[in-house]
Amino acid sequence: MIDLQVSGPLFPLFVLIWPLVLGLAASLPSVRSNAIVLLPLAPLPALVLAVVGPLNIPTEAGILLLGVTLNLDINGTLFLGAISGLWCLGGIFALGYMRMTPNPAVFAGFWCLTLSGNLGVVLSQDAGSFYVSFAAVSLAAYFLVVHERTERALYAGRIYIFLAVVGEALLLIGLLIGVDAANSMSIAKIRVALADAPQAGWAVFCLIGGLGIKAGLVPLHVWLPLAHPAAPTPASAVLSGAIVKAGIIGFIQFLPDGTALWPSMLLVLGLAGTYGAVFLGLGQTNPKAILAYSTISQMGLVIAVIGVGHLTGNTVAAYGAAALYCAHHGLAKGALFMSVGMVGKSGRTFMPFVLFVTGLMAASIAGAPFAGGALAKSAIKTLFEDWALLLVTLSGAGTTLLLARFLMTIASNHGPEPDKRPSALMSVPWFVAVVAALLVPWVLVDRYSDLSVPYLLSTGALWDASWPVALGLVCFFVGLRLLPGGFRVAEGDIAGPLVKSVAAVKRMLAAVPEPTVPTIKGLDHIVSASRTQAAERRLLQLAPICVAALILAMLMFANI
């Protein structure tokens, strides 16, 4: 018998395969038109695994790929839970939001594939399956981005796929070096080996690049503000809430302990993203684009956390905090994107409620007191010191500013029919996401940081949470007064020049000629048949001379 070489619990494998099965099922003719129904079902096993799953019991399947190893550690559980939860909610939301969408089967199929990849990124403990998962999540998401097939969506898709492929390539380099250094596919071993391998610098650089593209690391972020607005809202929600996290997970998985240049770089780039995205986001008019920049900003913060964790050598705390922050951000950002969908389907009467809940969510992300976000923010703040701490704290103001701008933008976007209310299939998952975002950190904060709930309810902590938000609001209103029309930044800021330069390189290459076999046509002129033939036939006259010469040569040189 063929040895399947499987050991450990099979359920994690099922978690990954189940969405794929559903995805394939979507292509069945009988399912095709109602394929959206499958969306909420796909992440359910993962959710179960996250809730009840055993920790740190690896699953190994030797014959799959290059030997698949899956495992769930404590941070992974959180990521898995948040991600699968959001995917689940997004799926339900889609049931309501995308009832009449064209090609539901394609959407569902790739939704499931993306999901599977996303979950795989969390679970994978070997470079092969991580890469496969990462590729799945990156590339399949393309289909979510371009689902509506509009010019804009296709353009966004092009930029997205370009960066995704570049990211894959960079990731591949990093993985290759890592696998070689570790002489193993195991991510844990790679992480250790990369600490002092000869080409580790290259590897880490490429890993940061490849993963950073997904995580919206500045300056590789350009795809987010293009892709998010283009995608259907449920897709935007999972893109921003869950898919982006794949990069962060990668950082946590691969980055080795070390005190090289790169932790500082992460810190600087992260903070630059945090603030730069706020500025660029304020120049947007599309609410989803604003949210996308907000995601860049928030992820910048997480990246800075990872950087600082490595700088201080306190990676365990930093990863825990980052996981918590990501979990909250994922749910909250998902909820905010759903809000955009809700707004479109809501009449004037239902709007205040939507706006209120949305504001609540925005406040949570900004870190307003009592909200889950505040806890997450507190958790990461413990890692920073001095100026960095100040910058992180102040970023709350920036977030407030940006999200205030968001609220202002959606406030006028309600639907035309005054009494229209979104279906329950939309509002329920939306509401669940909001509640989860607000509550989950309260439940988990003590597991993922040194902080305790009582401390967080202390006045000092509340003040620390409040003033940046207040400052942000003040800035917002001052800004409104000073610049009533705002300012404009193109979606995807530097994407345009990027496209042009690629086209120019392509044109240059086309000018290089291609080697071919030389033709022999010119020979006719060199060897003029008629002339040489006449000459050679006349050689009869020269024959005696040649004969004499031959004999002379023999006489002179023969072996006498």
Binding site: I2, Q5, G62, I63, L64, L65, L66, G67, A127, G128, Y131, V132, A135, A136, L139, V146, R149, L154, G157, R158, I161, V165, V166, E168, A169, L170, L172, I173, L175, L176, I177, V179, D180, A181, Q199, W202, C206, K506, L509, A510, E514, P515, T516, V517
Partner: protein, 490 residues
């Protein structure tokens, strides 16, 4: 039985080839039966050999051509890797070709030479001596030409001329290399590598360079690749043969043989030839991709893609490390599966919908879903998107490169992946996302007969499968590992 087995396997292709030549044009059933029967019989024999060789058996047939000039057929694991691929693809391509040509003209000639090509490829794979290799290599050159010019129009003849224009000087170089080497060492058998100390290092380098020159034409190493894009003038089954079953593979396989069984990795490294060869392969990888990017014709684009991809195999050999070698050898199969899928599909596009240019592909995905889907799978494999097979090769190559200290190669691999994406994704994009041409709309093309689409589906599935199940011992990767670990590692 065992002594005759290599000969028998060779005959499974050679006998149908020679018999087919004499069949009247209208005996289609006999012709198809002969060729399919041969292919199936061969697969059965190959399956048996896979089992036996996996257990450590070696088969040999030895014939004397002229005094001291042996025709030695020897089946080892490496030979079997190549033969398995070509036997499998031969069957599929035959099915495809039967459907493709229908009642076209000159089919006896076509299938005769086609099977002859496969026989030559089998011979190349089984060659146990340099001269045997050369004989079959030339037989391949000659039997391919009638296929390239099958359409007998100006363009095919230009392609055929280009093919011979590259291949014949290359044969000369190969012959010089073989004779030069053997004039010092005596006849060389792969299984018993000679002590090459009779030659000084400079001569050895020159000989190796000549070998590369001679084999590089078929392996389409830049700048010897010019014939391959031109050869796309041939019908699709021929392209499949050129790009996947036989020709380019023969060149790459030859380079592997030379490096591993004639010189030995250590000597190649000592001579300082490994790195230049790796650089050459890398340049080819990138150059082919860059060229592919500029092509407007689907088959030309695919051809340049082959230029790029085949050098992965060469690269694997040139890196002179076990892991890279495994990657290269696995890629021999992987590339074959993926590229043949692409050419099958390109053939269906051209034959059934008249699609030859890239901009004609718009919206074809919905009208020819199976074809487009298989094409997409193949393309993704080429890019190296996991879990398609291409990724596995790349991973091994990259790791192997790092292992031998050639870290720069990983950037080549990554760059190549990017470029592959750059020239394949627009095709997929057009197929799936752009609106269809009007005539496609009004007269949706058929993907029938089944003989056309089924082989494509099978190869696409196989390309996916060998990636998904790469860890299995009988996957190409597993087999390549067996080859390297059992036969080439001390």
């Amino acid at each position: 039985m065992t002594a005759a087995l290599p000969f028998l396997v060779l005959m499974t292709s050679l006998v149908p080839a020679l018999a087919t030549f004499w069949l009247p044009e209208n005996q289609a059933a006999t012709r198809n039966g002969l060729n399919l029967g041969g292919a199936i019989l061969k697969l059965v024999l190959v399956a048996y050999m896979l089992y036996a060789v996996g257990q450590g058996a070696v088969f040999e047939t030895r014939l004397e051509l002229a005094p001291g000039l042996f025709l030695l057929l020897r089946i080892d694991a490496l030979a079997l890797l190549f033969v398995t691929l070509s036997a499998f693809l031969w069957l599929l391509t035959t099915i495809y070709a039967i459907a493709y040509f229908g009642n076209g003209p000159n089919l006896s000639r076509f299938f005769g030479f086609f099977s002859l090509c496969v026989a030559a490829t089998t011979g190349i794979a089984f060659s146990g001596t340099l001269i045997t290799f050369f004989l079959f290599y030339e037989l391949l050159t000659l039997s391919t030409w009638p296929l390239v010019v099958h359409k007998q129009n100006e363009k095919s003849f230009a392609a055929g001329g280009s093919y011979l224009g590259f291949a014949l000087p290359a044969s000369a170089a190969l012959l010089v290399a073989i004779i030069w080497l053997e004039s010092v060492t005596g006849p060389i058998e792969f299984a018993a590598p000679r002590e090459l100390s009779g030659l000084d290092a400079f001569d050895l380098r020159l000989i190796l360079a000549l070998f590369v020159l001679g084999l590089g034409v078929k392996a389409a190493i830049v700048p010897l690749h010019g014939w391959l894009p031109a050869a796309m003038a041939a019908p699709a089954p021929v392209s499949a043969l050129l790009h996947a079953v036989a020709v380019v593979k023969a060149g790459a396989f030859g380079i592997v043989r030379i490096i591993y069984d004639v010189f030995g990795i250590d000597l190649v490294s000592q001579l300082g030839m490994a790195q230049p060869l790796a650089i050459l392969a890398s340049i080819t990888i990138l150059y082919g991709s860059l060229r592919a990017l500029q092509q407007d014709d689907i088959k030309r684009r695919l051809a340049f893609s082959t230029v790029s991809q085949v050098s992965y195999i060469v690269l694997g050999a040139a890196l002179a490390g076990p892991i890279a070698a495994i990657g290269g050898l696995a890629h021999l199969v992987h590339q074959g599966l993926m590229k043949i899928t692409l050419f099958f599909c390109a053939g269906i596009f051209a034959e059934r919908a008249g699609i030859e240019k890239i901009h004609h592909l718009d919206g074809v995905g919905a009208r020819m879903p199976w074809t487009a889907f298989c094409f997409s799978l193949g393309a993704m494999g080429m890019i190296g998107i996991p879990p398609m097979a291409g990724f596995v090769s790349k991973l091994y190559l990259g790791v192997g490169a790092l292992e031998t200290g050639a870290g720069w190669v990983v950037f080549v691999l990554a760059g190549s992946s990017l470029l592959n994406a750059a020239y394949f994704l627009p095709l997929l994009y057009r197929m799936w996302f752009l609106p269809a041409r009007e005539d496609l709309e009004t007269q949706p093309p058929s993907e029938r007969p089944l003989g056309l689409i089924v082989p494509a589906v099978v190869t696409a599935t196989a390309a996916l499968g060998v990636g998904l199940l790469a860890g299995a011992p009988i996957s190409p990767l597993g087999w390549a590992t067996l080859i390297i670990e059992r036969d080439y590692l001390p």
